[in-house]
Symmetry: D2
Subunit: 296 residues, 4 copies
């Protein structure tokens, strides 16, 4: 594995026209801007990417646009998120062909009561064994029926040579995970709320939805940490969490996209059944983002 | 709408070879046997059908085999279960082309925290408005992140001319639903555990996983009810619930398929990540089914 | 054990003045009326009895009034619901001294994550071994942090000579329990929603909150069942569930008490923090109870 | 209010003999040692204090021993945790008489479905209005049926002149709370896992179960933070979280007590139904605590 998955990643949104049609030109423009920004990479086809709202072909085209337009040194993690092992592997191979640096894997959950530790370990290792691209676990109980990866699952998967890290978007776990895995297992936070805490306990980066709208702010926070300026990091972190609460916390993908619109990116609306942000939501996001101090 | 969705339905399993390949010949043989059985119809591409483990094309081929080989009077409900409105509609139209009698719709759940009542109502009615085939809601919190359809959602959807019923696979709700909807809104139980109770409170049928292995038993139970022989119905119902607890309750799809193998159907294994039933599971299912009295 | 715990039980409410003071005279008057009604007994100090809102002394006085004023043949189950084994035993002995026929035991739950099966089995059997009065389990996850008694816990407890039954107020379990325990283990439903279904699968009675306001209706339903008039039972059952949804389902103890006020009993308000039923709640309960047909 | 609730607090355990009898002498000896330690105060009758396992009288005697034997400058928060408003107030007044500095209030939860925001706000403000001692909210969904205090409840309660802070023992909330309340509303972490993160986002202290066994370590961590030595704080914090995971995280109160035994305090066993720590648990705690580096 050549590139370490460290720094700030944008869980890049997928761009749609108002009628719900995929707009790859808008995506391309967004990526070009991110390519000139300080972010270290992207999570393509993640939750903010509305992975589950895309057809197989749309997913591939979306990943292709991101990979072809990013800056050369930027890293791309690509989600392969399906309910069956066979389909997860097949899609992971598509991402491998496109040149993704990492494959991100979420727990299947349709048959939640059957997803015992040994089933999940088998699933993740089956996929990781079938591809050459290194795999990252994705712990996000809010998106998979409440399934939280146990430390046992994570530690067992960490023994697999091709499972090299985890992105944790749950609450209250990232510190425990970072303190329970081998030193070379890469732990990333999946939320601004836990980003600094993750770094302070051994994590090496974060996939932060605010990086979609204010990439330079999240990167500055990361740089403060790297340089050991922890007082500055803590001060900016407070503003970043407040912003995150008001944007992603309240309005989800629709809020993230509206914040992008505010920052000169193409945000637009999510695909149905997700509703676009309502007028009062825009005002609330405006009020929130106008009140935080990103200059710290 | 010509045919009423009444009686006993098999949530038909999808047949795979041991290497996970779709085996449509085996499915065809199963359907031919069911066509000669007393069941009133099928739920194709439901949970026991491992809907989420199939590719788009596999789903279509599976539904086609069922529709082409069923008995003429048998009804086919087909699941169109996706996370985006656009994909749900597109697949529902495929099912409509094939001649499905009903489309079954499950709540999206990836962004669970966003699935407020008004979002779900919009989702179900958007889909129902886009097709001519009548639609059935599918209430199954165990398969969609814990989302239980509220009575408000059900009652609002019941006002849509093309949403004509509900299959309820939750616990503790089917009686309340049956007693809260208009008389012509068709309520079906989705579990042997609640089948008789559903019928006694106004429901008109059931989608019962045991009908995959012992269709004549479940149909006899239904017939007792229809003829008002409630004492006989209650006696047989006890055996049916005991069987269901030991088969589907403990081992899920793998148990349902093993019970099919026992009855001369092609059961086989589910697709990974679901594990096949272990040896001790087979023995437990054997012991359970040998102990119940289906002759009542 | 002399008396079988069969038939219809009122989970009798505890009576308070408007300022929250315990009103034992009102309770006495209520019990005298119930003594002249067809109900087979009482659950004293249960959930509708606001057990947790009473001091130790108030609990004893409440149970005393019920036991001293009931009809001689009526049975009294008394809740001994505490978090520590020692306190549960001490209170159970107080109930024994007063002459309670059964002690009802709910799972402790403060340290929910510690309440493994073996801990619960130890708890229930420790209490049952410490008293002579027969004990009933009380399965009510909605009142104890979501802890549902597993079939293993129930079956192990059923082996104890002094644990003789269970009152199940959960959803979707009473039929499974009734079909999984020895024939002499007494299974009672704890909700009108599952009462008839419980009886049809092997249960012998119910603790039904509507019996607080319309005891004769619930007893008639039970009598239909006992006489094998299942069609009549099913018809009345539909009305009973509809009434229960509108009264207890929507407004809890406050609704149960308002329905008592309507029927000539002393209902009054629950103790804070529970709010009294609001005006629109009274109107909704009125509308519900005026619409059901209890004459069936 | 004279004393600010800042620094490190021990959620002091309650001491029992092996037969479960309250051992106040052992408690007195523990408190005398804590009085000579650097901790800033105590939470008496909290979760680690097994509040719910004590009778009314035992609670009072326990609080009395703590208050009478602490160092003069140490602060005592005392839990008044009951299901009814009237009992919570009555006990809070007992604590006030004894001289507690703060009263700690947990959400009632028996009737969880009724505990809407307005009910909880009424509950907390009713209690706070009835006493002169300042009150702290206690947010601990794991101990009250999953009820998490909403930001709305916290913000409304913060307007009450006698509700002055919150102890948050949930996961993923303390940072959001600290960033959402007025500057003079005192936010304390209730877990080592979130202690440093809480301080970095505006909190002023923590109630940390490890302070029962290694008070000087937790206080050193706090001092690093206060002096702005954030690198040192982060390094020690990693060891503290690892220790907490192995002690409290795995074995709860029994683990906390065993760690106390190891450190020369009287730990002993919790009261039934809680089991004492098993032999392999002792070994696991030993291994954990032997592996962490508290010298940082």
């Amino acid at each position: 594995m050549s590139k370490l998955c460290t720094g700030v990643f944008a869980p890049i949104t997928t761009t749609f026209d108002d009628d719900g049609a995929l707009n790859l030109n808008a995506l391309k423009e967004n990526v070009k801007k991110y390519a000139a920004s300080p972010i270290h990479g992207y999570l393509a086809l993640g939750s903010n990417g509305e992975n589950k709202a895309l057809t197989w072909e749309e997913k591939i085209e979306t990943a292709r646009v991101i990979i072809e337009n990013k800056a050369p040194e930027q890293i791309v993690m690509a989600g392969s998120i399906f309910e069956s092992t066979v389909e997860t592997i097949a899609f992971a191979k598509e991402m491998e062909k496109l040149g993704a640096d990492y494959i991100t894997l979420l727990s299947p959950c349709y048959f939640k009561s059957m997803m015992k530790d040994e089933v999940l370990i088998r699933y993740f290792t089956d996929v990781a064994s079938a591809v050459d691209t290194p795999c990252m676990l994705y712990n996000a109980p809010q998106f998979c029926g409440g399934i939280t990866l146990s430390l046992k699952v994570i530690q067992e998967c960490a023994k697999h040579p091709n499972i090299v890290g985890i992105k944790d978007s749950s609450t209250g776990n990232v510190e425990k995970i970072a303190l329970s895995v081998p030193a070379d297992f890469q732990v990333l936070s999946g939320s601004a709320n836990t980003f600094l805490s993750c770094l302070l306990t051994g994590g090496i980066g974060g996939v932060i939805s605010l990086a979609n709208s204010v990439p330079e702010v999240v990167c500055r926070l990361y740089d403060y940490f790297v340089r050991g300026e922890l007082g500055k990091a803590a001060a900016l972190n407070r503003e970043v969490i407040k912003a995150n609460m008001g944007v992603s916390g309240k309005y989800g993908v629709a809020g993230v996209k509206y914040a992008m619109d505010r920052s000169g990116y193409f945000g637009g609306a999510p695909r149905l059944p997700l509703f676009p942000i309502p007028e009062e939501g825009k005002q609330a996001v405006d009020a929130c983002l106008d009140s935080v101090d990103f200059s710290l």
